[in-house]
Symmetry: C2
Subunit: 345 residues, 2 copies
């Protein structure tokens, strides 16, 4: 009798232990945001989805209105020290100079050649008009298919100098989880980027599961014409059609999507108006900003980190103040993210 009781206690402990292990395992498996540390950012995302997708909830959003928009550079993938597309433009210059050798001695092409030879400091010489000129020279005057094929080829070969990985692997795992979690709950996810729409569309489906038609970005015009055999094609023109930054973000969202997002994610002053516009809608709206405060695992930069403003994506003190005032939630990469990249252990 006593032995039986002892055995029974032992059996119960084993059973309870097994149950505990399984339940922790199941929890890890079912936690849609398992790369997030528990905290206000993670809780805000979970609560938003729960509130907007539960039938009968006062904040229920019908499936067709579930729109979520994401900035790309600095929000979905690394933007520091240089936007990936700028790297593409710079690294496209040698081929351009090979085709037109007279450019080798003309700025800004000559400056780019110096940078690529190792004179990284020379990059500071490049002004915004220089970059526009380089963009026009490397990314227009060709068919849309040629541009896509060249960008695709570069993306397959190019590597980020710090991680020695293709740029397309430098996406943030916690944000990938947010994309998937929202989609699993009926949200249609869009990229709304200051980057080039045609560039991002080359890899958006493979990298983020976001099809080209759900990528909104800075866009130039195209021109319809015919080749010598009468076959029609579109040529990329050096003419700015949409500047998808600042106020251009909500304007492009209206043009390209036609609905106000229920959730929007950004990381810089260029995303301010998109977040304002999102949050100004009725009912539950989620506005979040990624703060780059992890100098060890990624980067720490910008005024909100007590560092000087950089040319790229600036998280200003004014943005931080507006976030607090408007109820936008700041995601600390350092504190909120358990893992940053999928390739990390």
């Amino acid at each position: 009798m006593k032995r039986l009781a002892r055995y029974s206690v032992f059996a119960r402990i084993v059973a309870l232990g097994t149950l505990l292990v399984f339940s922790l395992y199941a929890q890890a498996q079912t936690d849609p945001l398992h790369s997030w540390n528990d905290g206000p950012a993670k809780q805000a995302i979970l609560a938003f989805v729960e509130n907007t997708t539960t039938q009968g909830s006062p904040e229920f959003v019908p499936p067709e209105e579930r729109i979520a928009t994401f900035d790309q550079d600095g929000t979905l993938w690394v933007e520091h020290p240089m936007y990936t597309q700028v790297m593409y433009v710079l690294e496209s210059v040698p081929a351009l100079v090979k085709a037109k050798p007279e450019l080798a001695k003309v700025a800004p092409f000559s400056t780019v050649l110096e940078v690529l030879k190792g004179d990284r400091a020379a990059i500071a010489k490049l002004t915004m008009p220089d970059l526009m000129k380089l963009l026009a020279a490397t990314s227009t005057g060709m068919s849309v298919e040629t541009f896509s094929a060249e960008a695709k080829k570069w993306l397959a070969e190019a590597k980020d100098p710090r991680w020695k990985k293709p740029y397309t692997e430098l996406t943030y795992l916690p944000m990938q989880e947010v994309l998937k979690y929202l989609r699993a709950n009926g949200y249609k996810t869009f990229i709304v980027t200051g980057g080039g729409q045609d560039f991002v569309r080359v890899y958006s489906d493979a990298v983020y599961g976001i099809p080209p038609e759900q990528v909104v970005g800075t866009a130039g015009g195209t021109k319809y014409g015919y080749d010598k055999d009468g076959k029609p094609f579109l040529t990329k023109e050096p003419k700015l059609l949409l500047n998808d930054n600042n106020a251009g973000k909500p304007e492009s969202i209206h043009l390209m999507i036609g609905r106000r997002p229920h959730a929007a994610f950004g990381n810089s002053t260029g995303d301010r108006q998109m977040l304002e516009y999102t949050k100004a809608g009725d009912g539950a709206r989620l506005a979040m900003l990624v703060l780059h405060d992890d100098a060890t695992r990624e980067y720490a930069y910008g005024p909100a980190q007590g560092l000087p403003a950089t040319k790229i994506g600036t998280f200003s003190d004014a943005l931080m103040a507006e976030a607090k005032q408007q109820g936008w939630i700041v995601i600390s990469m350092k504190n909120d993210w358990k893992r940053i990249f999928a390739f990390e252990p």
Copy 2:
């Protein structure tokens, strides 16, 4: 024995008859294009879907690339004798004049008032610049939400003078079947219209099952700003951003969708480039034109009917010639459509 045999023959006839009735019924139920008469147009649609969606078919198209684009006016709904949106603009003038009485004596507003009082002939006085002026006056200078609400209100009340039905009921049942059939086979359906993008988006989901983000149209710019309480909103500007006609159609398709359609449907010279661009892609591509040749059940108009070109949607002889040369399929409303409207018996 003889009686039994006779009974058995009778039973067999009943059984066969029942089977026949059921099979015809089942066929009618399962025929996705049951408002189409059998013929080359119907067969072309069925074959295209079969060829592009059957695994292992040499013309198989992966689901994510299944894009089909549809012109609206004259392709999905009635455009004769006047585009619905033009009716909206004209019928919006009285409210405008009420708010600004000084306009009552100024052309083109005064001309519109004459037309609405019954002088239908006065409509001929309106030039394209007049229409642009009327469009700017009735459809810009307000928030995007105000425009949508006003257009929605008008659509709920306005009626086509011939059928005495809301305009939104004047869609072509056979084309609604094509939309549904393509979607049931993994195609994403888009409207690509010369009409106003914001106007069509008001009813596209309810009328065609096409969400606003899948409507591409002629579009004006918007301007981001704040009301007196600091709440952000977008104002519709009288500035043309996309002219979604002719070459503008493939250009807008690239901008807004970013993929070449596998199927495109139109009815006028304004759709020519969209059909050329669609058909110029690799593999199976379907290009179709609706010909308005049914003077009894709908309308017959345009040069391809031996009638003078009208201001609106012209099916020219040149378009007919190009259709033949390029392998586009012409849909005869008279011969290919069994029923035109859902409200018909």
